[in-house]
Amino acid sequence: MADVALAGRGLVRLYGDGAGVRGMDIAVVAGQIHALVGLNGAGKSTLMRILLGMLKPTAGTVTIEGRRLDGADWAAVGHLVESPLAYGELTVRQNLALGARLHGVPAPRVAPMVDAAMTELRMDTYAGRRARTLSLGNRQRLGLASALQHHPRIIVLDEPSNGLDPAGVILLREALLTRAGDGAGVLVSSHHLDEVARIADRISVVNQGRIIGDLDPGGIDIERSFFDLVLADDTEVPCTRR
């Protein structure tokens, strides 16, 4: 049986408007890229927040490498949810060093790690630039570099290609494939079906707070398959949100 890097079972967390997560099971396998796709408000971000401890589920459990969140090895996790960990008054290099230290990287290893991360995501020319002066895309690259630089064994990225230019998307793709190849379990959410089809080993479709099925990453018309699944689910389970 494959090693499960990150798992959630029976997760429930609903907001007042009915949105949220209503009974999700997910297992992200080490060495694989697991993509979540779904319409806006389907519950992808809420699921990721629960998995990372940002939200407590009203039911269900989360484990990271078999351990509950209060005993998890957080140094082994890298994540980017919504906004990058980038402070406008600090330079790219300072932000990355700060991120590395907060991820538990020993001081002597920080500088070479930061250099390697900037090279990997083509941020070298921006090393001395303050984050507030970066474009949206470069801030996103900075956030991704901060999340990935310490080579975490578990990676959780919410819409990681937001704001990235085509070159940035390719760099992200290569970075994730490299880390999955090295054994990391990767969970990404995305609206870009073509993009996730290129990199994902598994694609789960989220709708109305539940995982309603999987898509074949090698399928011919993945977009049609996605909408067929969502439409069938909406027909079967009338929308519960107002």
């Binding site: 907001y15 007042g16 927040r49 990372l52 401890g53 940002m54 939200l55 407590k56 090895d73 957080w74 140094a75 996790v77 994540h79 980017l80 949810v81 919504e82 906004s83 990058p84 960990l85 980038a86 402070y87 406008g88 008054e89 600090l90 300072q94 700060l98 991120g99 230290r101 907060l102 991820h103 538990g104 956030g143 901060s146 959780v156």
Partner: protein, 251 residues
């Protein structure tokens, strides 16, 4: 803790916001006090009559008495603004999501913020008294007198005590998830303190005690009343650490 301390120190040191607040608190208060000295010394009788009581009994002692009045209000707002920025910005700028799922616990990050704030307050309290002395000299007060030394000590203590009573602003910025919530709380503390003093609570209203103590040169506030600041600070800091520890990013 070391990583969190380095992080928070770097953020404050590099931030234009923190620098601006520091300059406003140190130079702003000193400038206001020096301006009062100059205004009293003008030929405008009305102005002298209005400001005269504020710098009673005149000289360095009167100058520091005026500084205490200004510090108790402006200092509280400045300290509240810095705390609100330190804690509230993480929510406003969205960086709070990056402070989850780390080996460094969130309550450790909050504690580091408070420690850096305390060091900032210490630096500001010393810088402010030095700036006041410099502006006093420039304004023609002459050499610092022996009688002014206790007043200078009270000025340093007042700045530190003012910094401590502003700490609830950090809690408010956390609960309200915004810088404005913290600043609003600092303003609220200032207004309520003024009202309490007018209402005659004296030093028993802890938020007003430092100002009353400094302005009255220690005569209107007992040590017990002043000591009540300790549970206020401990309580505020505990609430902040608990809030950060239990933080959830719901809608």
């Amino acid at each position: 803790m070391h990583a969190a301390l380095v992080t928070e120190a770097l953020k404050v040191y590099r931030s234009r916001t923190a620098r601006a607040i520091t300059v406003i608190v140190v130079l702003g208060i000193a400038l206001i006090c020096a301006s009062m000295l100059l205004a009293v010394g003008t030929a405008d009788a009305q102005m002298a009559a209005k400001l005269g009581p504020l710098i009673d009994p005149g000289g360095w002692v009167g100058y520091f008495a005026a500084a205490a009045q200004v510090t108790s209000a402006a200092g509280l707002l400045g300290c509240g603004a810095l705390l609100s920025w330190m804690f509230g910005r993480e929510f406003g700028e969205g960086t709070i999501t990056g402070l989850f799922a780390l080996p460094v616990k969130r309550h450790t990050i909050a504690a580091a913020k408070l420690i850096i704030y305390a060091l900032w307050a210490l630096a500001v309290s010393v810088s402010l008294v030095l700036a006041l002395v410099a502006f006093g000299l420039v304004s023609g007060l002459g050499a610092v007198t022996v009688e002014a030394v206790p007043a200078m000590g009270r000025q340093v203590a007042l700045t530190l005590l003012t910094a401590t009573i502003a700490i609830p602003a950090a809690w408010a910025a956390t609960l309200g998830r915004s810088v404005l919530a913290g600043i609003g709380t600092a303003i609220g503390i200032l207004v309520v303190s003024q009202v309490a003093v007018v209402a005659g609570t004296g030093g028993w209203f802890t938020f007003a005690a430092p100002a009353l103590w400094a302005v009255s040169q220690g005569t209107r506030v007992s040590p017990t009343q002043l000591a009540l600041i300790i549970p206020l600070v401990l309580g505020s800091c505990s609430l902040i650490l608990v809030a950060w520890s239990r933080l959830q990013l719901d809608k």
